[in-house]
Amino acid sequence: MVLAPADRAAVLALWRKLGTNVGIYTTEALERIFVAFPSSKTYFLHLNLSPGSAQVRAHGQKVAEALSLAVNHLDDLPHTLSALRELHTHKLRVDPVFFKLLCHCLLVTLARHYPGDFSPNMHASLVKFLNHVISALAPSSGQIGRVVAEGSCV
């Protein structure tokens, strides 16, 4: 079993609460990653990335649908996300670090909008869930939260 029952229940409950608004939050997460981690824009040079962009909103909706799919197929993530894995690794060649950065921005977004629900346990459950999504999307990557600094000259 990919997620322990308590983590699974927490994520499912939150997703139910988010309802049809998941796209709003994934769009905000995209807006945040473009501002906080500007190198992420490299994958979206073909889009209008200005605040409120309909194209960013459309991409946010795609991300939302993928995450909602993942929430409902927790026992079969690698298979469920195989087409997206192919797309992101072989066609788009996304550096796996950006999945972690986007997930961090999504956590920031959810924490902002649902502070009362964002207990330490919920935080932990979401991190575990998103780590599984990232593993299924980008098998060679590590854990979210392990963010590489922008412009760090280490």
């Binding site: 906080a36 920031v108 902002r112 939260g145």
Partner: protein, 147 residues
């Protein structure tokens, strides 16, 4: 060396002025221990860390969290010289405690998330960006002694 624009400094200090360092510090360290359980290894002497509620209520976690965030506050007064501000702490964490620098980044991101929960209206993408730069700069400064 990290450079902060005037706007970034304002975004950081403006929000910092509203932070309850004692509460937020305890919460930050507590969440680190809950969400990234291997970090508990550094706090074996803290007593009961057996559950999220035990961790969040643990007085030693709260006290140490306050210490950690207080030093963040010192960093904010020294944004132009984070390496200097954290030189001694870098020695402690790297040479004595042997903490993997990745964990500094984890804590930095937990702090960002906590700010988002407490200041949802103010925590715009630009404000988040300034804070990401800060926590990244602090993590780098803390890891300096490894290089």
């Amino acid at each position: 060396m990290v450079h902060f624009t005037a706007e970034e400094k304002a975004a950081i200090t403006g929000l910092w002025g509203k932070v309850n360092v004692e509460e937020a510090g305890g919460e930050a360290l507590g969440r680190l221990l809950v969400v990234y359980p291997w970090t508990q290894r550094f706090f074996d002497s803290f007593g009961n860390l057996s559950s999220a509620s035990a961790i969040m209520g643990n007085p030693k976690v709260k006290a140490h969290g306050k210490k950690v965030l207080t030093s963040f506050g010192e960093a904010i007064k020294n944004l132009d010289n984070l390496k200097g501000a954290f030189a001694k702490l870098s020695e402690l964490h790297c040479d004595k405690l042997h903490v993997d620098p990745e964990n500094f980044r984890l804590l930095g991101n937990v702090i960002v998330i906590i700010l988002a929960t407490h200041f949802s209206r103010e925590f715009t993408p630009d404000v988040q960006a300034a804070w990401q730069k800060l926590v990244s700069g602090v993590a780098t400064a803390l890891a300096h002694k490894y290089h």
